[in-house]
Amino acid sequence: MKTLQGIPLDYYLWLSAALFTIGVLGVLFRRNAIVIFMCIELMLNAVNLLLVAFSNYYSDASGQVFVFFIMAVAAAEVAVGLAILMLMYRNTKTTDINILNRLKW
């Protein structure tokens, strides 16, 4: 079995799945908006890891190109997201996500 720098592909897949699951569970069960935000980053990076691993595995550079795109978009998203969080904190003095249910119609 082909290995990536001495480590089998399976390990990457399991790590990626574990990171993604942690991210999902964090989003689901944490109420702190900043933590949720970080968990989303975790999911994105789990996917990045998967893409890089497969890119290397198949010796195809397009997977790595995807990763760059994702990182660029994630950076932009972080900028917007943190701005929203700032405003949210200024208005509510808390980062608890459930406060936002008042936004509903």
Partner: protein, 638 residues
């Protein structure tokens, strides 16, 4: 000099233009301009009709059929219909009657409708009516005739309900329209059958094909259905009850539409298709039967009516019945002859009645009249002429035409003759009853009405005198051969019925018999007049205002044999009951239930579904993740 074909297309154009001009400017035009435009357009049509008539006379008899096609109207598949006009002796004669009598009635209306707020509306309807009537008689195919047929029905409806603020009048208009719809259904089915059977709807193709093909069951069906249309339009049993109610319209309308022109459309249509009828003896028998029953029945109702216009209305129904008797006997030209004379004297009678009503401030009850000959001398004179004409006193118009019908009836058997004779004697009686009760004896009108009683203005009396003249001399166009010479009208119409005549058994009465019949009829007529004179003048009999004093028979007749009530009970009531049932059960429970149930279902379901939308983002994301996991695992396992 314009060509004949241009002239033909100009005839219906002018009333149409008149209608458009008046209808689009009804609020702007003054009454005077409207009256001139409306009457003038019909007058121009009349002049053109005269020119066409003489053009036609100058041709050889077998060439007297001019057709002009304006444009192709409908062309789809095998079916094609064109807007094209046919001028032959029949339509030419109809044109003269429609535009001639129509013009006189327009002039009369100027006086009669002068103070009516709907003056301009009235004249626009009248012009529209003339246009459609011309279309009806000039159209060279069944579809165009049908268009005219429906159009005159519409105008009839509009004019009966002219004073639409009165609910009774509106109801009468609805009744006329609905009754006519029943007949029109027969007509349109007949036209469809004609197309299916002959592959064309042009008269020329259909009639020649039918003449070549001979009789058949489908032909009988077609002719009966056509006659159903005629029953509606020409007010024959069982569809006659709308005509007496149609008297709700202004009197000139009663004269023009419900006496002289529209109601004779049925006669025109049967004569136009005479070859079809000649080939279907069953239909002929039906026409004869319906005609004779209607004639007698309506004449008996007229005996007891007390409304001056109602008497004339039933008289019209009865006379139309007589015309159908002539048609049913195969005497097509006789039917047309009586139609022509009837148009003049019945229009005269209606207009004279209108003059009486006008002079008495709207009074129509003959029990409130009497002794009017001093107050309305001109109206009295022309009314007498009209009564003499309809009674068949020689040499007035009605004598010749009615005598011709009686002679034809005699040829076919004593029974029909006896019925026709009885009808005409009843006619004499109720007409003289009307005359005596209205104009003779002591005035019974209220004093204030009587003090204002006045002769009508010249715009009304001049048309009356013109029609009176026509009623005197009109009969000579069908001068019987028995007095020497030839019958001009029969000769004129001969090409039209020539094919039919070859199929019909030749009858002819000896001159002696015919003269004897005439003498008998005239003698009986005079006896009846004397009887009416004794009853209504010498004994001063006036119909009782109170119903209790009359016999059961009289009361039955007064209530028109309860036919309206009968129709109400056997047709209208069940229909309303069915409507009620459908509304209560089909509509309320069925349709409403279904619609409301689906609406309530959605509302009910959403009451629970909306609980999912709590606003808690965690729940949303959780559901989303569960969903993604489910979809992915489904991918995995399936």
């Amino acid at each position: 000099m314009v060509s004949t074909s241009t002239l033909i297309s100009l005839v219906p154009l002018f009333p149409l233009l008149g209608f458009l001009l008046i209808a689009l400017n009804a609020n702007r035009l003054s009454k005077g301009v409207t009256a001139v435009v409306a009457s003038g357009s019909v007058l121009i049509s009349f002049v053109i009709s005269m020119i066409l008539f003489f053009n036609l006379l100058s041709l050889a008899p077998e060439q007297r059929s001019l057709q002009v096609e304006l444009f192709n109207w409908i062309a789809t598949g095998k079916f094609s219909a064109s807007i094209s006009f046919l001028i032959d002796p029949l339509s030419s004669l109809m044109l003269l009657i429609i535009t001639g009598v129509g013009f006189l009635i327009h002039v009369y209306s100027i006086g009669y409708m002068h103070d009516d707020e709907g003056h301009n509306r009235f004249f626009s309807y009248l012009n529209l009516f003339v246009f459609f009537m011309l279309l009806l008689v000039m159209g060279s195919n069944y579809l165009l005739m049908f268009v005219g047929w429906e159009g005159v029905g519409l105008c009839s409806y509009l004019l009966i309900g002219f004073w639409f603020k009165n609910n009774d009048y509106t109801a009468a208009a609805n009744k006329a329209f609905i009754m006519n719809r029943i007949g029109d259904l027969g007509l349109i089915v007949a036209v469809i059958l004609i197309f299916v059977q002959f592959g064309s709807i042009e008269y020329s193709n259909v009639l020649s094909a039918a003449a070549a093909g001979g009789g058949s069951e489908i032909l009988t069906l077609i002719t009966i259905l056509l006659f159903v249309g005629a029953m509606g339009k020409s007010a024959q049993i069982p569809l006659y009850t709308w005509l007496p109610d149609a008297m709700a319209g202004p009197t000139p309308v009663s004269a023009l539409i419900h006496a002289a022109t529209m109601v004779t459309a049925g006669i025109y249509m049967v004569v136009r298709n005479n070859i079809l009828y000649t080939l279907s003896p069953t239909s002929m028998g039906l026409i004869l039967l319906v005609g004779i029953i209607t004639a007698l029945f309506a004449a008996s109702i007229a005996l007891a009516q007390t409304d001056i216009k109602k008497v004339l209305a039933y008289s019209t129904v009865s006379q139309l019945g007589l015309m159908f008797v002539a048609l049913g006997l195969g005497a097509y030209t006789t039917g047309i002859f009586h139609m022509a004379t009837h148009a003049s004297f019945k229009a005269l009678l209606f207009l004279a009645a209108g003059s009486v009503i006008h002079g008495l401030q709207g009074e129509q009850d003959i029990r409130q009249m009497g002794g009017l000959r001093k107050y309305l001398p001109i109206t009295f004179a022309v009314f007498v002429i009209g009564v003499l004409a309809i009674s068949g006193i020689p040499p007035f118009a009605g004598f010749f035409s009615k005598d011709e019908i009686l002679a034809k009836a005699y040829e076919h058997g004593m029974v029909i003759w006896a019925f026709a004779l009885l009808t005409s004697l009843l006619t004499v009686f109720y007409m003289f009853r009307l005359l005596f009760l209205t104009f003779f004896g002591q005035p019974r009108a209220k004093a204030d009405v009587l003090s204002h009683a006045h002769e009508s203005p010249p715009s009304m009396t001049i048309p009356l005198m013109a029609l009176a003249l026509l009623s005197i001399i009109g009969g000579f166009m069908g001068f019987p051969e028995v007095f020497g010479g030839t019958n001009p009208l029969a000769g004129f119409l001969e090409p039209l019925v020539a094919t039919s005549n070859t199929h019909l058994a030749e009858h002819s009465l000896s001159h002696n018999t015919e003269l004897t019949l005439m003498a008998v009829v005239v003698a009986l007529t005079i006896v009846v007049i004397i009887a009416a004179y004794i009853r209504y003048v010498s004994r001063k009999h006036v119909p009782a205002a109170n119903e209790r004093n009359v016999s059961a028979l009289q009361r039955t007749i007064l209530h028109k044999y309860y036919i309206d009530e009968l129709y109400e009970a056997i047709i209208a009531k069940p229909l309303f009951a069915m409507g009620e049932f459908l509304q209560q059960f089909m509509e309320r429970l069925g349709i409403d239930g279904l619609v409301n149930a689906s609406g309530n279902g959605v509302v009910g379901a959403s009451r629970y579904a909306r609980l999912l939308q709590s606003g808690n983002i965690g729940v949303y994301i959780f559901i989303m993740v569960i969903g993604i996991v489910l979809i992915l695992s489904a991918n995995l396992f399936l």
